[in-house]
Amino acid sequence: MIFLTDFSPIIPDYGIFFWTTLIFLFVWLVLGKLAFKPIAKALGEREKTIADALNEAESIKLEMAKMKNENEQLLALAREEKASILKEAKEMKESIIKDAKVKAIEEAQKIVTTATAEIENQKKAAIVELKNQTGKIAVDIAEKLVKKELKSNADHMQFVQQLVSDIKMN
């Protein structure tokens, strides 16, 4: 116990108490205000910046993936569309050709029919014309005959025969 009473580190003294308070208060206030607080702030800011940048990169990456996916989908869609358009076009071509063929045949038939009808009409008209002409000629002949009759019999006979032959032609 002798040394314990004299053991100064175990007994606090005024000087140490006073000066430690002063010095530590100084360290705390000065360094706290000028160093530790700004450092904590700067560290926080830096970490926030890094975290933000990482998050942004991640979101951009996601967006990129999304866009890529979309593009691929679009591409696939386009391809599909192309195929379908091609198919449609082919079908259309075929149908057009087929239609055209049918139409052509129909048209041809129509033309043939019309032509036949026209021919018939023309024929009829021609016959009518012929009949008319024949009648006219007959009248003419009759006129001429009548006129000739008045001249000779032989001539008449010859003329009638000629007329008959003429009629046979029809």
């Binding site: 002798i2 040394f3 009473t5 004299d6 053991f7 100064s8 580190p9 175990i10 007994i11 606090p12 003294d13 005024y14 000087g15 140490i16 108490f17 006073f18 000066w19 430690t20 308070t21 010095i23 530590f24 100084f26 360290v27 705390w28 000065v30 360094l31 706290g32 205000k33 000028l34 160093a35 530790f36 607080k37 700004p38 450092i39 904590a40 700067a42 560290l43 800011e45 830096r46 910046t49």
Partner: protein
């Protein structure tokens, strides 16, 4: 709350990471400590080898004392360790007075305690000390201020004050305070005397918080000087580091900034944030200040020569102030919840409350008290162990009379001191960390607001 081991493991990992990250600075700091530890061992070996010379002196002293009325030479009073500043250079000591040979009783325990105690001068080696300002407040004579070099290492009384093994003491009897010359100081039981012209003058005990003295010592003592120095070093380091952060906060850190960032980030993420929670930012500067102040003073304490060597954090006054700061901060920031938990614990039967309240109230004071004692005891004990191991040289050498014993003591002591120094290096970091961690845990408990249902 339970102290986790995880932060420590993380800390060690961070430190190993740090080694690779900021190698140059780390190597520099490590080398500084390794060199200082190495030099310390060389000094011890040097002591060991010199024991022979001292032994001869000491032996002659014993012979001298055994022959009465024989005027002895100066060396009789010079002690072997060269620590007690004997009268070699004092012309008045031996020849002029021819005092009866008096073998000073200096036990190794005393020497050890002097070493870890505060002192009014900064002892470098032999008889060389750095003078420090002495500021004494006396109740009867006002303030005395002078440099400690005026004491002439204890051979001169200045304004009624005497230096005993580096510690200033006042002459008890006002009538004797005019005395100027002092031969030496000696201890008898728990009393200390200054001897002048064969006359014993009783000295008052050193000024402490315990017991009344007629004077108070407000000197810039060895410890205060070291603290001022460490405050200066801390300011230089952290103002520089902070300036780097201000200049380029978004650029990757390098050099000193990187070295300290590891500590700062560790303190923030593994000490302050988990312990305090949301309000961590308010207390981060305090915990950082405490951590680095303790760490630097611990490390300076390991360095055996100037500017180290002062037992700052191993002095209870210093740890008391630090613990008081924690106590004040905890008390001022205590929420209603915190006080309710102390005074009238919710969710507990009233009979238990009656038992719990006194314990909790005692806990308010026990917490900072343990902080104070833990740091003080760890650091002081480290110093004492190292001094004890060095003491083996003197004890086994029987105060220098047996050279073989001294060498054996040295052979045992030196490797152990070497190992102890590394342990002390670890303890310096550990104790700073524990103080910071517990401080933030106490603050965390005080500022915490929680729902009562999910607690207890």
């Amino acid at each position: 709350m339970v102290i986790q081991i995880v932060p420590l493991r993380k800390f060690l990992r961070e430190v190993s990471l740090l080694m690779t990250k900021s190698a140059p600075l780390f190597v520099l700091v490590l080398n500084y400590f390794l060199v200082s530890l190495y030099l310390r061992n060389i000094i011890i070996v040097f002591f060991c080898l010199n024991i022979g010379v001292w032994g001869v002196n000491d032996l002659s002293a014993q012979v001298a004392t055994s022959t009465p009325n024989h005027t002895t030479d100066d060396h009789t009073q010079s002690t072997h360790e060269g620590e007690t500043h004997a009268d070699e250079h004092s012309p008045a000591a031996g020849e002029s007075h021819g005092v009866t040979a008096h073998k000073k009783e200096t036990s190794y325990t005393d020497m050890m305690m002097d070493h870890i105690s505060n002192s009014n001068e900064f002892h470098l080696f032999g008889h060389t000390s750095i003078p420090l300002p002495c500021i004494f407040y006396t109740q009867d004579e006002g303030v005395h201020a002078f440099m400690s070099s005026e004491f002439e290492h204890g051979h001169k009384a200045v304004k009624g004050f005497v230096l005993d093994n580096g510690v200033a003491r006042r002459i008890l009897n006002p009538a004797q305070r005019s005395i100027e010359h002092i031969d030496y100081t000696e201890r008898e039981g728990d009393k200390i005397y200054a001897v002048a012209h064969g006359e014993k003058i009783e000295l008052e005990k050193a000024s402490t918080l315990i017991g009344k003295t007629s004077w108070y010592d407000f000197s810039i003592s060895k410890n205060v000087f070291t603290m001022l120095l460490s405050a200066l070093i801390l300011c230089i380091i952290f103002l520089y580091v902070a300036s780097k952060y201000k200049k380029s906060s978004n650029i990757a850190p390098n050099g000193a900034q990187n070295f300290f960032e590891v500590f700062l980030v560790f303190l923030r993420d593994d000490v302050v944030k988990p312990s305090i929670g949301e309000k961590w930012e308010k207390f981060f500067p305090f915990v950082c200040s405490v951590f680095f102040f303790i760490l630097l003073n611990n490390l300076l304490g390991i360095v055996p020569f100037f500017p180290g060597g002062a037992n700052v954090t191993g002095n209870i006054g210093t740890t008391m102030v630090l613990a008081l700061f924690t106590f004040i901060i905890v008390t001022l920031n205590g929420t209603k919840d915190y006080w309710m938990h102390i005074l009238w614990m919710p969710g507990v039967p009233w009979a238990v409350k009656l038992l719990l309240t006194p314990i909790e109230i005692a806990g308010i004071f026990i917490k900072p008290f343990t902080l104070m004692v833990r740091l003080f005891a760890n650091i002081a004990a480290g110093h004492i162990i190292i001094l004890s191991l060095i003491g083996l040289i003197f004890i086994m050498g029987k105060n220098g009379t047996e050279m073989g014993g001294a060498i054996t003591g040295g052979a045992i002591g030196v490797p152990f001191v070497f190992a102890m120094n590394f342990l002390e290096l670890f303890v310096a970091f550990l104790q700073a960390f524990i103080f910071a961690l517990l401080t933030s845990l106490y603050i965390g408990a005080a500022v915490e607001t929680h729902a009562h249902d999910d607690h207890h």
